[in-house]
C-alpha cells in the first residue's frame, strides 16, 4: 500500500486549475500587444484550382487595412515546407507555401492575407480581394486517386501515391494453408478533426532593428516552432522565442507547422509589428489537420484452439493535399499496420500501407496516431474467429496475449515490446465488469427483445518515444526532455520543464516528482513550461511523454539539487553529507532537525561570506533525459463496452464502459483517471459521431459544430477505471504514458460490442462512425459480410 505521506502517487488537484476555473487563464487570444494588427485570410473556395491572378487593389484601400499580402510577397522571405522522410527517398512531398502562389490543392488553402486594425475590418477587406481561379479536377476518392488515369492532386506530381511500405515476417502463406479457421474483413474509417475547443492561435512580434522574433502560440512544442521559424524565415535561432501560454486543447493537432500560422509570422517580419491570427471555427474545420481516413482489409488465420497463426493487413491511408510539416502525414498508416495484432503472439505477419494524396485538408498526428485502426482490425478479426470456433471473446484473447515468456519481443509487425501485463489487465477487467453476470444480463435482455452487445479491446500503447523516430527521418524534433530547478533564497523551488501541459496535469505530476525526490512539500515547488527561450530545450508534448520522459528529467534534477543542498548543509554544520537527509523542507542529521531549508537557502544566496571558499553555492541544476534502454515505453490495457442497439432506429445507447490501464507508475491517479476518461470519450466520438464529410468535388460539408457532431455529456456513460501498475525499468521513476490509451481502445471496444449485438442477426458494421443509417444498412445487408477481396491487389 502507498505511504500516506508520499507525494508521488497522491491524488492532488492541479494548482493551475484554480486560475482556469476563475476565468483567469491566459490563452493566446487574450494577449494584446501595442500596434498589433489582425490577420484574415482569403482561402481557396475550390478543392483544386490554379490562381490566375489576385487583385488586391480594392482591399488595400479598405478601412483599417494596413497591408495585403500574397504568396508573391513572401517568396523572398519565407521558404516553403517540404515534409519528407530521409530514409524513405521515394516518398513524394510537394512544397507547401505559407500562401499558395500558383495552385491551391484543397478547399481552404490560404492564398492571400489581409492585415488590418481589427479582425472584423480584415474580414471586410478579404471580401474585396478578387481572385481569378481556374478550377481543376479534384481528386477525392482514395481508390480512384491511385488509378493510372486519375487527375493529379498537384499539377507537378507524377502520381498521387505518397509512398508504399510493405512488411513481411514469417511465412503467412503456410500459416493460412494450415489454419483451422480463416476470417477476413474490410473496414472503413471516417475522416475526423481533432477539434480543440480553442482554435489555433498565434501572435507574432518581429522587432526589425534587432531582428528578434517573439511568437505567442497555442502549440504543443515551442522548441520545434523556434527551429521552423528560424530556418524558414532566415533568422538566427537564438533570436527567435516561442512562448506558449494556456492552450485550450491540442490532441496532436497543435503539433504541426501550419502555413496560415507561418503567414502570420512572415507578415510580422514584413510589417515590423505584431500580427495576431486566430482561426475561426469554420477555418479550423477546413485547415486544422484531419486524421484517420483509411480503409483497412485484414485476414486472420487461427488453429483449432484459436491461437493465431498469421495475420495479413493492407491499409490505404488518404492524407489530403500535403504531407504535414515537419512530422509528415504517413505515420497514421504506418502505425495502423504496425499495431494490427501487436498485443498478441503473431508467428507470421504480412502488412502493407499505401498512402495517397487527395484534394482535401492535409492530415497529421492526432491522439493515438493510427493505433486505434490497428486495434479495431485485429479485435474484429479475433471476434470473427472466436465466433467460428464457438469460443468466448475473452478466452480467445487470453489464448493469444503476449506473456512474460514472449518478452521482450521484436514483434512481427515491427514493434519492440519490453514488458506488458495483458493477462493481468484482462483478469482485472473481467472482475471489474463481472463479465459472467453481464453475459447473463445480455442473454436475458435478448429474450426480452433488446439487442445488447459486449465488446473487449486489448491494446498496447506506444508512449515516450525516443530518438529513433524523428532523428533518422530527418525531422528536427528533440526526443529528450529537460528540467531546471532553482532554489530560491526563501527555500522554495522553481522548476522549469521542457514538457508542456495542455491540461493533462503534466506540470502537477512533475511538481510531485520534484517535491518528493527533493524532500520538500508539494506547495514548495512551482512548475513552469512553454517558454521556448528560457526553459530547457526539449521535445514538448507529443506521444505521451510529459511525465514519462519529462518526469524522469525532473527526478534526475531533483536528485542533483538535493545533493548540492546536503553538501552545503554539511559544510555549514560540519557534518558529513551522507548523514544528512532533506524531508518536508527540513534538513536532518541522523533523524535530528539541523536546519530549515529556508535557512540554508538564505545562507547560500546572501551569506556566502560565512562559508569556506570551496562550498558549492550554485543552487541551479539542469538535467535532461532521453529514453535509451527501449525505443519507447509500451503501455498496455484493455477496454470494454456494453451497449444497446435499437434495431428500429439504428440508434446506439452506451450502457457502460470500462478501462484497465497499465501506464507503469501512476504519479497522480486523479489526473491519470481523467486523462483516460477524456481519451475514451474522444474515441467514442470517433466511432459514433465524428466525421468530416466532403462532396464529390472536394467541398467540405461539415464546417461547423452544428454539422460535425462531438460527444455531449448526455450521451456518454460513466467510465470505470482500473490500474495495473507495472513500472517501466527504462527510468528510475517508472511511469509510462497514458494519454493515448483511451482514444486508442474505445473505438475497437464499441466495434466489438455492436458486432456482438448484431452477430445473432447475421449482421455486422464495417465503417465508422456508426451512424444510424449505417446500422440500418448493416441490418439490411445481413448475412452478406463484406469480404476483404481486394487484399494486396493492385
Amino acid at each position: 500500500m502507498k505511504d500516506s505521506n508520499r507525494i508521488i502517487g497522491a491524488s492532488l488537484p492541479r494548482p493551475d486549475a484554480r486560475r482556469l476555473a476563475a476565468g483567469r487563464g491566459t490563452f493566446t487570444d487574450d494577449i494584446i500587444l501595442p500596434r498589433m494588427v489582425h490577420m484574415a485570410l482569403v482561402r481557396s473556395p475550390y478543392a483544386h484550382a490554379m490562381i490566375k491572378s489576385i487583385d488586391t487593389r480594392k482591399a488595400t484601400k479598405a478601412e483599417g487595412v494596413v497591408r495585403v499580402i500574397t504568396g508573391e510577397d513572401l517568396a523572398d522571405i519565407c521558404s516553403p515546407f517540404i515534409a519528407g522522410i530521409e530514409f524513405l527517398p521515394n516518398m513524394i512531398s510537394p512544397p507547401q507555401y505559407a500562401l499558395a502562389p500558383t495552385e491551391a490543392a484543397w478547399q481552404g488553402e490560404a492564398v492571400c492575407a489581409i492585415l488590418a486594425e481589427s479582425r472584423a475590418l480584415a474580414e471586410d477587406a478579404a471580401q474585396l480581394v478578387l481572385v481569378e481561379w481556374e478550377e481543376l479536377p479534384a481528386v477525392v476518392d482514395p481508390v480512384a486517386a491511385l488509378k493510372p488515369d486519375s487527375p493529379l492532386v498537384h499539377s507537378g506530381l507524377e502520381s498521387n501515391l505518397v509512398m508504399t511500405l510493405p512488411r513481411a515476417e514469417g511465412d503467412t502463406e503456410a500459416a493460412f494453408a494450415e489454419a483451422a479457421v480463416v476470417v477476413e474483413h474490410s473496414f472503413e474509417f471516417g475522416r475526423q478533426s481533432g477539434l480543440a475547443l480553442e482554435t489555433r492561435s498565434v501572435i507574432a512580434d518581429f522587432e526589425p532593428a534587432g531582428r528578434r522574433l517573439t511568437v505567442y502560440q497555442s502549440h504543443q512544442t515551442p522548441y520545434q516552432m523556434q527551429d521552423v521559424y528560424a530556418r524558414h524565415l532566415g533568422l538566427d535561432e537564438h533570436q527567435v522565442r516561442v512562448i506558449v501560454k494556456d492552450v485550450g486543447g491540442a490532441f496532436g493537432l497543435k503539433l504541426h507547422a501550419y502555413p496560415d500560422e507561418m503567414a502570420a509570422v512572415a507578415a510580422s517580419v514584413l510589417l515590423g509589428r505584431p500580427v495576431k491570427y486566430i482561426a475561426d471555427r469554420q477555418e479550423s474545420f477546413a485547415s486544422d489537420i484531419h486524421a484517420r481516413e483509411m480503409t483497412a482489409a485484414g485476414r486472420l488465420a487461427v488453429n483449432g484452439e484459436g491461437n493465431i497463426l498469421g495475420v495479413e493487413v493492407d491499409v490505404l491511408s488518404a492524407v489530403g493535399a500535403y504531407s504535414v510539416y515537419p512530422r509528415t502525414s504517413v505515420g497514421e498508416g504506418i502505425q495502423a499496420v504496425q499495431f494490427t495484432g501487436a498485443p498478441y503472439r503473431l508467428p507470421a505477419f504480412k502488412g502493407r500501407v499505401r498512402v495517397v494524396y487527395q484534394n482535401k485538408t492535409p492530415t497529421g498526428a492526432y491522439r493515438a496516431v493510427g493505433q486505434p485502426i490497428g486495434c479495431v482490425v485485429i479485435e474484429q478479426l479475433l471476434d470473427l474467429a472466436a465466433a467460428e470456433l464457438n469460443l468466448d471473446q475473452a478466452e480467445i484473447r487470453r489464448r493469444n496475449n503476449l506473456g512474460p515468456a514472449d518478452l521482450p519481443l521484436k514483434a512481427a509487425g515491427g514493434l519492440e515490446i519490453e514488458d506488458v501485463s495483458l493477462d493481468a489487465c484482462l483478469t482485472a477487467l473481467l472482475n471489474k465488469m463481472d463479465y459472467e453476470k453481464l453475459r447473463r444480463d445480455q442473454d436475458e435482455a435478448r429474450r426480452q427483445g433488446l439487442c445488447r452487445g459486449i465488446g473487449l479491446a486489448t491494446f498496447v500503447e506506444q508512449t515516450a518515444v525516443g530518438a529513433g523516430l524523428y532523428g533518422p527521418a530527418g525531422a528536427r524534433i528533440s526526443a529528450q526532455e529537460g528540467c531546471s530547478l532553482r532554489l530560491e533564497p526563501s527555500g522554495l523551488v522553481r522548476c522549469a520543464t521542457s514538457a508542456t501541459d495542455q491540461g493533462q496535469g503534466t506540470l502537477t505530476g512533475i511538481q510531485q516528482v520534484v517535491a518528493e525526490t527533493l524532500g520538500v512539500k508539494f506547495d514548495a515547488v512551482t512548475t513552469e513550461d512553454g517558454d521556448g527561450g528560457s526553459t530547457p530545450y526539449g521535445g514538448g508534448s507529443w506521444a505521451s511523454r510529459g511525465l514519462s520522459v519529462g518526469g524522469e528529467a525532473a527526478r534526475l534534477a531533483a536528485i542533483d539539487l538535493r545533493r548540492k543542498i546536503l553538501g552545503a548543509a554539511a559544510a555549514i554544520s560540519q557534518e558529513t553529507p551522507d548523514n544528512l537527509t532533506l524531508s518536508g523542507g527540513e534538513i536532518f542529521s541522523d533523524g535530528k532537525s539541523l536546519m530549515a531549508l529556508s535557512e540554508l537557502a538564505r545562507i547560500v544566496h546572501f551569506r556566502q561570506d560565512t562559508l569556506p571558499s570551496d562550498v558549492d553555492c550554485e543552487m541551479n541544476v539542469t538535467r535532461h533525459f532521453l529514453p535509451r534502454k527501449f525505443p519507447y515505453f509500451m503501455a498496455n490495457g484493455i477496454q470494454a463496452s456494453y451497449l444497446e442497439v435499437d434495431l428500429g432506429t439504428g440508434a446506439i445507447k452506451l450502457l457502460d464502459h470500462w478501462v484497465v490501464e497499465d501506464c507503469g507508475l501512476v504519479v497522480n491517479p486523479l489526473l491519470v483517471d481523467e486523462q483516460l476518461r477524456g481519451g475514451i470519450v474522444q474515441g467514442l466520438g470517433a466511432v459514433l459521431y465524428e466525421h468530416c464529410l466532403y462532396d464529390s468535388s472536394g467541398q467540405i460539408l461539415t464546417a461547423s459544430l452544428a454539422d460535425y457532431a462531438v460527444p455531449l455529456a448526455s450521451e456518454m456513460p460513466d467510465i470505470h477505471v482500473v490500474h495495473v501498475e507495472n513500472p517501466t525499468s527504462g527510468t528510475g521513476l517508472g511511469a509510462k504514458g497514458a494519454g493515448e490509451a483511451g482514444t486508442l481502445g474505445a473505438p475497437a471496444a464499441v466495434w466489438c460490442a455492436v458486432n456482438d449485438a448484431l452477430r445473432p442477426l447475421g449482421a455486422q458494421v464495417w465503417k465508422q462512425p456508426f451512424t444510424a443509417a449505417h446500422i440500418i444498412e448493416a441490418l439490411r445487408s445481413a448475412n452478406c459480410p463484406q469480404e476483404a477481396s481486394e487484399l494486396f491487389e493492385n
Binding site: P13, R14, D16, A17, R18, R19, L20, A21, A22, G23, R24, G25, T26, F27, D29, D30, E63, A120, L195, A196, L197, E198, T199, D246, V247, G248, G249, A250, F251, D280, R281, Q502, G503, Q504, G505, L670, L671, E674, R677, G678, G679, I680, V681, Q682, S704, L705, A706, V710, P711, L712, A713, S714, E715, M716, D718, I719, G742
Partner: protein, 160 residues
Amino acid sequence: MVETVSIRLTVNGAEVSKEVEPRQHLTDFLRNELGLTGSHIGCEHGVCGACSVRVDGRVVRGCLMLATQADGAAVETIEGIVESSEAADLAEAFIGRNALQCGFCTPGMMLTAAELLAEGKPLDRAGIRQELSGNICRCTGYQAIVDAVESVLVKKTGEV
C-alpha cells in the same frame, strides 16, 4: 468610419458606458472592450457554449447576442461569479475533482452549472448530464464535471 451606438449596462455589478459597433457581439465586447477574457470564443455560432454569460439572470450565448442588445442589461461573467463567491463552492468542486483540463470550456460550463444549482431542483446524474449538454468539453469526457456539479447540488439540496 463605422457608425457606433452608445450602450449603458452593468457588468459584474459595475456600470459601463461604451460606444460599440452595431455588429459587435457581446463576447467580443466583453473580451476586447472590457478585457474580461474569461468568456471564450469556441465556435461563434452558438453551439459550443464556451462564451456563456449571464444576462439579466439567464445564461445566454454571448456570441449570439449583440452588445447593443445588452443595453440596459445586467451582465455577469465567470470573473464576476467567482469573485462574488457565488460560484466559490462550484469552483472548489471543479478543482478538487479535476473537472477541468485545458480550462477553455470551464467558464461556460460553470455558468451553466451555476444556473442549474440556482434552480435548486434535485437532479440525478442523467439529469445533470442533460443540463450540461449545451456545453462542449473536449478534454474531460464529462464524468468529473458531473461529479463536481452533483457534489455541490447534493450539499445544496441535501438529496442524492
